[in-house]
Structure formats: C-alpha cells, structure tokens
C-alpha cells in the first residue's frame, strides 16, 4: 500500500501513521454540548466505500494528510495537507 504525500511523493504505507476519520478535524467549539463531543470522539459514518481519513507522514515530512480513499478497494483518489485545507 502506498500514498502520495503532497510534499514527499509516492511512499510506502509503513512511513505513515493512521489516525481515523477526518471527522477529527471538526473539533466542537469550547462549551459545546456533551452530545457534540460524544459524536466527535466516538460516532462514525464508517462508510464501506469512499471515505476521508487522516494519516501522518511520521517518517517523512511530519505533515498530517487528509486521504480520500475507498475502504473496500483501498483505491486512493486524493491526498491533501491537513494544514493546507480551506479554512485551516
């Protein structure tokens, strides 16, 4: 399995650390209701198909990446920098 890091190029999966869904990027605002935190930390769409998840190029540029990926075929269709996404 390989990912194309926007900074480092095509690299083997073992250079990356996986975190989870990109839902982790939508941190509730301070003072949000407990239900919002529960949802943020625990509940997941968990699609069998296209998903966006977070990978860290730990043995490369130390950038966190949003990877658009199919969970059934493992096909990767896009890789973007977390820090580079709109609004970040």
């Amino acid at each position: 399995m390989r990912l194309t890091c926007p900074l480092c190029g095509d690299r083997d999966r073992r250079e990356f650390h996986y975190y989870g869904s990109d839902a982790y990027l939508d941190r509730p605002a301070e003072g949000a209701a407990p239900a919002a935190w529960d949802d943020y930390l625990h509940n997941r769409d968990n699609p069998a198909g296209l998903t966006k998840d977070l990978w860290y190029h730990e043995q490369g540029c130390a950038q966190w990446l949003v990877v658009t990926r199919n969970t059934v075929t493992h096909e990767v269709s896009a890789v973007e920098l977390v820090a580079g996404r709109a609004g970040a």
Binding site: M1, G20, A48
Partner: protein
C-alpha cells in the same frame, strides 16, 4: 439425528449414506417472533439461546451469504477469559464456562482445547500490569499463574531467551485458555438451533428495517419483506451499514485484521503464546498448521485483506521471539473486518427503536465471546433487560464515560 462415536461407526459400515442434513433450508415465513440479522457465530448462538433459554422457537436468522461466513470463520480461534476490568471480566468468564460444556450442549465437537495461554512480558512494568490482570482473574474465581523466566523456559524451552531484542521476564499463564475449531462453533450452533426450530435463511440480505411509530415491525430483504416483533442486529463487520438502516450512527470504525497459517507440521507448539513487545501471537491447530497473527493493519477497511507492513512485522516478531519457526512456511493469509469500538469493548444493548437490539463492537475478541454474546443477546431480546454479566456493554457509555478500556489507549478506535 444424534452424533456419537457409535453413529460414526455404524454409518461408516453402511457407506455413510444415512447422514442427514445438518440443518434445513427453509423458505422465509411471513412473520417471526424474533429475527436475528446475521448468521455468524454471535447471530447463530443468539438464535439458539432464544430457542433454548427463552422458548422462542418462531425465530429466523437472516444471513446474506453463507452461515459462519464472517469472522467466526476467519479468526485465530483463541478462547480465553483473561480480562481485568469489571464488566469484561464476568462476561468472558461466563463465556468460558459455556465453552466448557459446549460439545455436550450442541452435540457437536467444536474441539475446544484448553491447552493454556501464556502472555509473555518483557519488563518489570509489564509484569506488574499482568499481575494486576491475573489477580483480577483469580479474584473472580478464574485461573491464572504468574511464571517467572525459568517457569516460562520450562514450558517453552525453544523461545529465544538469549538473543531476543526484548528479554523474556516471564509470562502470565491462563491454564483454561486455549483454542477451538472455529467453523465447528458456527455449524454446531446452527445445527442445534435448527433442531430447536430456528429457521436459518442463507443468501438473504437485509436491505431495510421497517419501523412504525418508534417500534420495529420487520425487515426488508432480498427475499422479500419479513415481519417481526423483535429484531436483533448481530452483524459485526457490517454493523454501521445495518444500523444506519434504523437511522443510527454507531461508535464503530471497521478495520482489517490479518491472520496467517503455515503448512501442516508435527506437534511443536502446545500452548497459545503471545508476545508482549510486538504484535504476535501463535498456536498450533490440531491439523498441524501454526496459526498466528498480530495487530490491525490500522487503516479503516472493509476489504478483508491486508498489506505487507503488518505481515512483515508479525513475521519479524516471530523470529525474534521463537526463531525455531523460521522454516515453517506461511500457507495462507487472510483478513477479517473488525468492528472497532472507542474503548475496545463490545456493545449489547437496546436501541432508540423499540424492539430493535444491537450486538456489535467486538473488536478482535469476538470469537471467544460467541457463547456468552448469544446468551446475553438472547436474554436482552427476550426480556428487554440486560443480562447481568453484560450490563456494562451499554451503547451510551462513551457519552457517560463509563468506559471499559482494557488497553488504556483511549477513544481512537483502531488502537484497541
């Protein structure tokens, strides 16, 4: 038809012509008292105990593929009760007791083999953590023995005690831990459930859950609509998809876990052994293959197949710990899809829909839970009350903070 050694002999003498089907292939009825979605180990045992313990016989199991085709047929067959957190402890302890009578219960030899499980540890800190675990087990009335290095050497003299990267300090022995023949567990429950009147309906995929006024009334399937008063979702590996049919978003992320088996070998490993400093555990099947595995591939997946980094890690761990297996050859590797929950423990609970129940989140510990999961899920479906040993497996515990985090790795799903 009752199975026995005598029956095998008499059938053998007459050309094995008299063996009857292990289960029927009934057409789905229009309505059932209870439907269990999912014909894996947990679904089949749920149906069996609904019939046996709660005298519900108008029950169907709906399976989209073949019986036992999910994780019950693709795991590393380990059966143990070595948990230390209240909630998990009594549940798995109950499960192990059910395992210990399963052959007689089902009249099917599931080859439950209590050969002993040894968790190796490699530092003083790990030893103390395992001592905490073992003391919890003994406190509950189960068995555990803390072995020092020489105690381990006596049982497993072929481990690498000299050169391994992380020296072996000792191990926690769980004598009643062991293995079972995984397919046989599914088939045994299927056959026993069928004999009690449960309809096992294969190639029947649920496509929708019918809810009226907050109450479940039936399911839509590829073989037509079926009404039901109660519906249990027991589909680890696809829990998020099926629960979504009832409008639920679960605290589950699906991950792939790989496992491996070697070519057949004469007996060489007599226990189940796990490594404390890398992802590796191993046992030897009765057929002779070394059955072993490691950890998740760590990325969300429904592919039931993995990649080389974890394969190689597992093999390297095997080589540092027990280099005598170097010349055994891996025959097959496969992957199963795990319902990973945010604390590594399962969910057996009611849902917001009346009559709809959920059994999911088994992480990669589901196989050993098959008997107790069915026992407790059947209890919940029949009585609307959680069974005492499963009372902490609540769906809302992540919101309330009443967590069952054995690994201590927190809410990140794939770290358990």
């Amino acid at each position: 038809m009752r199975y026995s050694g005598l029956k095998v002999l008499t059938e053998g003498l007459f050309g094995n012509k008299g063996w009857k089907p292990a289960w029927r292939d009934p057409a789905p009825k229009a309505e059932y008292d209870a439907i269990v979605i999912g014909g894996g180990g947990h679904g089949l045992s749920t149906a069996y105990y609904l019939a046996k313990n709660h005298k519900l016989t108008n029950v169907a199991v709906l399976e989209k593929g073949y019986l036992g085709g999910g994780n019950v047929g693709r795991n590393t067959t380990i059966v143990r009760a070595n948990y230390f957190l209240p909630g998990n402890q009594e549940f798995y302890s109950h499960s192990l007791k059910l395992w210990e009578g399963l052959e007689a219960e089902l009249n099917y030899n599931v080859m439950h083999s209590q050969r002993g499980l040894i968790n190796l540890f490699h530092s003083d800190g790990q030893r103390d953590a395992f001592a905490r675990r073992g003391n919890a087990m003994v406190t509950l009335g189960d068995d555990a023995v803390l072995l020092d290095r020489e105690g381990v050497r006596e049982l497993l003299p072929w481990l690498d005690f000299e050169q391994t990267r992380f020296p072996i300090y000792g191990g926690l022995l769980h004598p009643r831990g062991g293995t079972a023949r995984h397919d046989a567990v599914a088939w045994g429950y299927a056959r026993a459930g069928d004999r009690r009147g449960v309809d096992l309906i294969q190639n029947c995929e649920v496509t929708g859950i019918d809810i009226e006024g907050g109450r479940v009334v039936g399911v839509q399937t590829t073989r037509g609509a079926i009404r039901a008063k109660k519906v249990g979702i027991v589909v680890a590996g696809r829990s998020s998809q099926v629960a979504a049919m009832a409008g639920m978003r679960l605290p589950i992320e699906s991950h792939v876990l790989q496992a491996f088996v070697t070519e057949g070998l004469k007996p060489v490993i007599d226990h189940v052994i796990s490594f404390g400093m890398g992802h590796f555990y191993i046992s030897q099947s009765d057929k002779g293959g070394l059955v072993f595995g490691g950890d998740l591939d760590f990325y969300a997946s429904y592919a039931a197949r993995g990649n080389l980094p974890m394969v190689e890690h597992v093999m390297e761990a095997g080589m540092t710990l027990m280099p005598m297996i170097g010349r055994a050859r891996v025959l097959r590797s496969w992957g199963g899809i795990m319902d990973m929950s945010p604390d590594g423990s399962p969910i057996i609970d009611k849902t917001h829909v009346e009559g709809l129940y959920l059994d999911c989140g088994w992480n990669y510990g589901g196989f050993k839970a098959v008997p107790a999961s069915g026992w407790c899920m059947a209890h919940l479906m029949a009585t609307d009350q959680p069974h005492d040993v499963a009372r902490r497996f609540r769906l809302d515990r992540f919101r309330t903070g009443h967590l069952l985090d054995e690994e201590g790795t927190g809410s990140q799903h794939n770290l358990h």
